[in-house]
Amino acid sequence: MEKLKTSLTRNNLVRLKAGEEILFSGDLHTARDQAHQKLVEIIRKGKNLPLELKNEIIYYCGPTATPKGKAIGSCGPTTSSRMDDFVEPLLKKGLLAMVGKGRRSKKVREAIKKYKSVYFIAPSGCGALLAEKVVAKKLICFGNLGPEAIYRLEVKDFPLIVAIDSSGKSIYEDL
């Protein structure tokens, strides 16, 4: 398994192939349904985004509350397809990659190919195991959404599988 110690860049991202496993160390930004809706609304109105999306990775995740003495609570991936309609405007803003669980629409696959992005899946239903891979959690924006806010997670050796690579190839072609 390849260990990616530094943050992913567009250059090493395009070399990853569907099905490949990596241990990622770097930053992930959590965002799920409501945060996506807000971000895309801001883009549509031509206003300034509350965070820089360029070269960042979005993680479809809404963690539990953080127990005392821990960096984060349980924090596994949520279903990615609910975010399908919001993907393209974010990729246009330079978003590097997405992490979630499950299949994506054809439109998302095409957009991933067009923008040279990657869609990863993380162990689903394994929020406690993934919590151990998170070193720090910081609120970035939309704090009034609670678990649906955008948090920056600093992760170490976070297990990921390439589900759709930058050529648009998916591990779910038969499903």
């Binding site: 509350a65 953080t66 127990p67 924090c75 162990p123 689903s124 406690a128 499903l175």
Partner: protein, 277 residues
């Protein structure tokens, strides 16, 4: 019934359900792991088993989706049920969620906004066979709940068509619903009741045969068909798409044959407490 004691008992089952995998579920997951030949699916099953160990040891939720709490209350003949008793139960669940840092996952369905803890769903039943109260909590995660299906069949429909519907529902659920699944099926009653039966089926011990011989063979047949779908954990393939199928039935109307399917992810969580009156 002492309010404080009841609330404590409720807090405890919230904790138990959220942090510790059910014994029967854990047993079938371990069996699936040792049986699985597909390397990648086996690794995903190992993650699932590790996750359960970490959750228990670290008092972390098995899944960040700590669910919409569904409460099943069964009352014996020596108990008087009133609204304040139900309020006490719901309050205990709410406190349990808060105290254990579980995720507030409940919102107004249309306004959305910031999520909260209040809003557990409570089903009441009466049983002449028990004394006191039996309270069960099923924290239902929505990755799998979103995959629920109901179909109102014609009364003359063949069993094959019903089987096809169940298998197709699992196929549609795919990797998003977090396989290996436990598939609950409710046959009969009304539309709402078929779905409630399907959910209640998830509370049965999944490592035990159905006492109804016909349903037991149907469960086995469906499980075999579902595992031929090769979805597997995280959609990585292999033979572990479902751990078990559980079926419940109830009398229905001469004009109908409702079938409900309620899917649970591999983190099928529930816990029960018996309370004396």
């Amino acid at each position: 019934m002492n309010k404080k004691l009841m609330q404590n008992a409720l807090e405890n089952i919230v904790k138990e359900a959220s942090f510790s995998l059910r014994k029967d579920v854990s047993k079938l997951l371990r069996q699936a792991y040792s049986r699985e030949k597909n390397k990648r699916a086996k690794k995903a099953l190992a993650w699932i088993l590790d996750n359960a160990k970490i959750a228990k040891k670290e008092s972390l939720a098995i899944c960040q989706d700590t669910g919409l709490p569904v409460i099943f209350v069964e009352a014996g003949k020596d108990v008087t049920i009133n609204s304040s008793l139900v309020d006490t139960i719901k309050k205990g669940v709410e406190i349990g969620y808060r105290k254990n840092y579980l995720r507030p996952s409940i919102v107004d369905p249309l306004r959305r906004g910031k999520s909260f803890y209040k809003g557990a769903i409570c089903h009441l039943d009466f049983s002449p066979n028990i004394k006191g109260l039996k309270v069960t909590i099923l924290p239902k995660g929505f990755g799998s709940e979103n995959k629920s299906q109901l179909k109102m069949f014609n009364p003359t429909t063949s069993l094959e068509k019903i089987e096809e519907f169940v298998v197709e529902t699992v196929k549609k659920a795919g990797p998003e619903g977090c396989p290996p699944f436990v598939v609950g099926v409710g046959i009969g009653g009304t539309s709402d009741y078929a779905l409630l039966l399907a959910k209640k089926a998830l509370l049965e011990k999944i490592d035990r045969p159905n006492p109804d011989k016909f349903l037991n063979s149907l469960e086995k047949k469906l499980l075999k068909k579902i595992n031929l779908l090769k979805i597997g954990p995280m959609g990585l393939g292999g033979n572990s798409t479902a751990l078990a199928v559980k079926i419940k039935k109830a009398p229905t109307h001469i004009a109908g044959l409702p079938v409900g399917v309620n899917i649970s992810c591999h983190a099928l969580r529930s816990a029960t407490v018996a309370l004396k009156s």
